[in-house]
């Protein structure tokens, strides 16, 4: 690495060597900017109120949309009367399934295609009609004035009964959407070899994403070109779904969303509302703002399905897990949506076990379709598996941390050919975590505490996980532009959903280019001005985009060197890029400021394009984690007070310590909600309708429900094989083992195994009084 003259934004920053054309850059051994806890590059905008989120957009002449939704879980629309609504003040467009605009417009649930306005409504909240009017209030007034005649049909909303013979069919083919099975080894033999075999059924409730920003968009036509500002995790997904629905070329649909207020998977794709907004905007010849109401988002913006998981496992006294048999059932909702997707993955792959069998049945019910929700399937699977592991440990009188340590896999047993992981930090997560948490001493302390035998009981518990994805991968294209004054524009399609993507990418580009992140301006999440990226989800954004950004930076450096070689009349491979200057390695006196490179001066801009290369061919890139929790239970009232939490994560390189820790905190908070407070409540026995479609009855954890002490401990392993930055995903593993860790702590505190999530005070009291009576 060379030193160089200083200009303000390169001061003190060494620059990695530029690899030769066509070669992969080496793994960074040491970084100067990447990993640093620098504040977010867009922090100012977000705290000053100047960041314009899609819901904030105001356009001249803009009007407001509202959707009328089916109030029944299952019904057929017989007749819609819009006469009165159409005449209401301010109304400019009304669309129903009968409107000519709606004819032939389709919507897709996975591979199932249905009319956008489907007169056969299979869930409460299905769209029936839509209105646009001058004010938001007028739009809602008009939507309510639409008269609809429904033929109310029999329904099923209880997924555990959806396969009964007498139950109404949600789709014509019946309610069993799919049945997936997996097996390796011989489970029966495994159970025969076990010293202890345990079996237990676990339940988790339906969880709703409810990001703070409502689902919605602003749609505007400029001639035949549509622009949609959508609160989205992936603008390219918005572009393609809308183009497909409206039969437009991709080039005619621009989707944009520089800021977005959370998604957690529910905004990976647009909704029917997006297409409807575009249709209303066209009909009214006005820009249209459509924000779903909070209540609507509970009905139609996805969920993490409930699940029933039966797990049977065998263990030998030495801690060898001999067999796992896992069976789960869960609902997609009214349309295919992955009701049990990945629920069995941890049972298959988290611990060493030769004999594993799983079955998952995805069923249909008359309720809103699921959408991927932060680590789909995994928190549910962990709820069952991680409690079972604790039970096994207890049965063989082994410490639960030790039992897990005995079974750390270095290979992915569930994948074809059992490929090794590029890194398995699970051991370190468990060991370092136990140490940091003071596991052994805490056990002792708590035993003493509980001997006082008052109404407050304490417990500690832990759980571990991996996340099936999180390695990222192609495709992704990133462009870095160097302007003639030396400033830099980083152009990428990916959204920053709150994980700090923009900041991290600025750090990566800055690291590679030897400049301060502040000089880099990021352009992102706009299909018209940035390059294709897949939606931000699955904890794959950093491991996908960071190497791509790095590649783009390198391409830019190579382009610069080639151009400078012409100017300096020396061979290109004898030149070195040092941030603001290019020097000749044979004689450092011969140097050229990059702003003096004639090709840059002539063209005004120089471009480096990076593409995401493939992941290692026969290896798996997965993040690992362990969570530890201490809590106190009031056995008289059932109240649970979480005292402290520790999240230990192997996600490869820590790209920014501050956003890293923030993710860990956030995942734990969400896991607390999953484990203790959140549950969708359908009126199962009567109307099938949703009872708690608001944040009061559907209870997210508040500031009072999280411990004052949450600690994040990264296990930073070098993982040069994962990708050229060494980062693995973080956003999902942070919420996977949380609830299970709580349940294990609860079990220690009360001596009772809580198999149903969420464990509210009601559930605690219920279980404890059952025990008293029983």
């Amino acid at each position: 690495m060379a030193t160089r003259d200083k200009i303000y934004y390169t001061e003190g920053l060494p620059v990695p060597e530029t690899p030769d054309l066509g070669t992969q850059p080496a793994f960074w051994k040491k970084t100067d900017l990447v990993g640093k806890p620098i504040p977010r590059v867009d922090a100012y905008e977000r705290v000053s109120g100047t960041a314009v989120y899609p819901s904030d957009i105001l356009l001249p002449n803009m009007i407001y949309a509202a959707i009328l939704r089916c109030p029944h879980p299952h019904a057929r629309v017989k007749k819609i009367d819009i006469a009165e609504a159409g005449k209401m003040p301010g109304v400019r467009a009304v669309i129903t399934g009968d409107s000519k605009e709606a004819k032939g417009v389709k919507w897709k649930y996975r591979d199932m295609e249905v009319p956008l306005f489907d007169s056969h409504c299979r869930f409460e909240g299905e769209v029936v009609a839509a209105v646009a009017a001058d004010s938001w209030y007028q739009a809602r007034d008009a939507a309510q004035a639409i008269k609809v005649d429904y033929e109310v049909l029999p329904f099923v909303v209880d997924y555990e009964r959806s396969l009964d013979v007498s139950v109404p069919r949600v789709q014509e083919k019946g309610n069993l959407l799919s049945e997936d099975t997996y097996s390796r080894g011989d489970v029966e033999k495994g159970f025969a070899e076990a010293d202890i075999v345990l079996e237990q059924t676990y339940h988790t409730q339906c969880e709703l994403h409810t990001p703070l920003e409502l689902h919605g968009c602003v749609a505007n036509w400029d001639g035949d070109r549509l622009t949609v500002w959508e609160s989205s995790q992936g603008v390219f997904a918005v572009q393609s779904r809308v183009a497909e629905a409206l039969n437009l070329p991709l080039s005619k649909v621009r989707a944009s969303g520089h800021y977005m207020g959370g998604g957690f998977g529910s905004k990976l794709w647009p909704g029917k509302y997006t297409v409807i907004s575009a249709m209303l905007a066209r009909k009214a010849a006005r820009p249209v703002k459509m924000l779903l109401s909070r209540e609507e988002t509970y009905l139609c913006a996805g969920n993490r399905p409930a699940g029933t998981m039966r797990i049977k496992a065998g263990v030998r006294k030495d801690g060898t897990i001999t067999a796992i048999d896992f069976d789960c059932i869960g609902p997609s909702g009214a349309y295919p949506a992955g009701g049990v997707q990945l629920v069995d993955w941890l049972a298959r792959d988290l611990y060493l076990c030769a004999n594993v069998r799983t079955r998952g049945r995805d069923v249909l019910i008359n309720a809103g379709p699921a959408r991927p929700f932060r680590a789909p399937g995994h928190p549910q699977g962990a709820w069952a598996l991680e409690q079972m592991i604790d039970e096994l440990a207890k049965a063989i009188d082994m410490d639960p941390v030790q039992l897990r340590l005995k079974n750390v896999p270095l290979k992915s047993q569930a994948r074809e050919g059992t490929p090794p992981y590029t890194s398995t930090g699970l051991r370190q997560c468990l060991e370092k975590g136990a140490e940091k948490f003071d596991w052994q001493a805490s056990l002792e302390r708590i035993r003493k505490f509980n001997e006082q035998n008052n109404h407050l009981r304490r417990g500690i518990g832990m759980g571990a996980c991996l996340w099936v994805a999180g390695g990222g991968g192609p495709p992704s294209t990133v462009v870095i532009k160097l302007f003639r004054d030396g400033s830099i524009n980083l152009n990428m399609g990916a959204s920053d959903i709150g994980t700090g993507t923009k900041t991290i990418m600025a750090q990566v580009a800055a690291e590679e280019l030897g400049v301060q992140p502040a000089i880099i301006q990021i352009e992102n999440a706009d299909t018209a001005t940035t390059q294709y990226a897949t939606p931000s989800g699955g904890s794959k954004t950093v491991p996908t985009e960071a190497p791509t950004v790095r590649n783009a930076a390198i391409a830019l450096k190579q382009e610069l060197l080639a151009a400078a070689a012409e100017d300096m009349e020396v061979p290109e491979d004898e030149l070195e890029y040092i941030g603001d200057e290019i020097i000749w390695s044979r004689d450092a006196a011969k140097r050229l400021r990059i702003t003096e490179v004639s090709r840059l001066k002539k063209r005004g801009v120089m471009i480096g394009t990076g593409y995401r290369g493939p992941n290692p061919a026969d290896k798996v890139v997965n993040p690992f984690a362990a969570h530890f929790c201490e809590l106190e239970v009031n056995i008289l009232s059932g109240e649970i007070n979480i005292i402290r939490f520790l999240g230990v994560h192997d996600s490869g390189r820590v790209m920014n310590r501050m956003t890293f820790d923030n993710q860990v905190y956030g995942g734990i908070v969400m896991g607390i909600g999953f484990g203790l407070t959140e549950s969708r409540q359908l009126d199962e026995r009567q109307t099938g309708r949703l009872c708690n479609k608001n944040w009061h009855d559907y209870k997210l954890p508040t500031a009072m429900d999280v411990p004052l002490e949450i600690t994040s401990l990264p296990i930073e392993l070098d993982d040069p094989e994962s990708n050229n930055t060494g980062a693995k995903g973080l956003g999902e593993p942070v919420t996977i083992p949380t609830a299970a860790a709580i349940a294990n702590a609860l079990c220690m505190a009360t001596g009772v195994r809580f198999t149903r999530a969420p464990v509210s005070p009601m559930e605690v009291v219920r279980k404890l009084s059952e025990r008293k009576e029983g």
Binding site: H455, I635, D683, R685, C691, N692, T702, R766
Partner: protein, 329 residues
Amino acid sequence: MLPKFSYIRPDKLDQAVAQIQAGNAAIHAGGTDLLGCLRERIIKSEKIVSISGLEKLRGVRETVEGGLRIGALTTITGMAEDPLVRKKYPGLAMAASEVASPQLRNQGTLGGNLCQKPRCWYYRGEFHCLRKGGNQCYAIEGENQFHAIFGHDNICVITHPSDTAPVLSALGAKVQVIGPGGGRNIAVADLHVPPRDDVRAETVLDQGEIITHVDIPPPPAGLYTSYRKVRARRSWDFALAGAALALVMDGDRVVRASIVFSGAAPVPWRSREAEQALAGNTLSDDTIDKVCRAATAGAKPLRENRYKVPMFRGMLEEELRKARLQEKA
């Protein structure tokens, strides 16, 4: 979305009284409950009379007898933080500080808190239930984990949502009301209407009556007050099981006991059984046990809320033990 309405904000009480007579006018104090009710079409009113400009109805004053007079427009925060309230009736301050969230406490008023509509999710949702003039209570057969175990008579099984009413009732407070026919006094204990009397009314107030003040009698010597609220999450949540205690102690003996539950019944639920079991006794383990049993003996739990029986018992046990500790200290 809120439906259309006209809005009037008088600056004198008599103007307000006059305005509220007309048609189906609704009173807006802080509006935290009213606006939700209007949006859900629970209250159908085309005319909103805001009393928020009636400054005289705001504030806490000590009466000559040593009790307190709290204006109906006093905010919940105002009560929770008022030094007189905290000194004389700590239980009331506790209850106030457990209402809703800080912002709602800053805006919501005492009058509104006493007159708020119930929080049954069928009632607040799009279910045309008995209390809204329909012909069915959805909660009886439906999802009733948050519903009543006392006093519902299987008619309407709401729990009364107010946190302040149980304490005020236990303290023997009275509301001062002004209406077209002049003023009257109503004991807080008599303010709320059980379903068997009228399933569509929450309070005995007539259309056009405004609560102006709440009067709390002076605290007798040896008064111990407390409020406890068990809930599913620790902010922004109504009681699963709550209790207001007003005990008059003589040494470690309970001379007089008022025990009023929240989260229990369609009205703030006075547990006479528990009071009787407690009055005249010392707070021994044995008494506490008896009181807790007596408190829930008459419970009529529903399918999903059986847990409330042990929860009320447990919560009350803890509260009585706390009272004992306090008296010893």
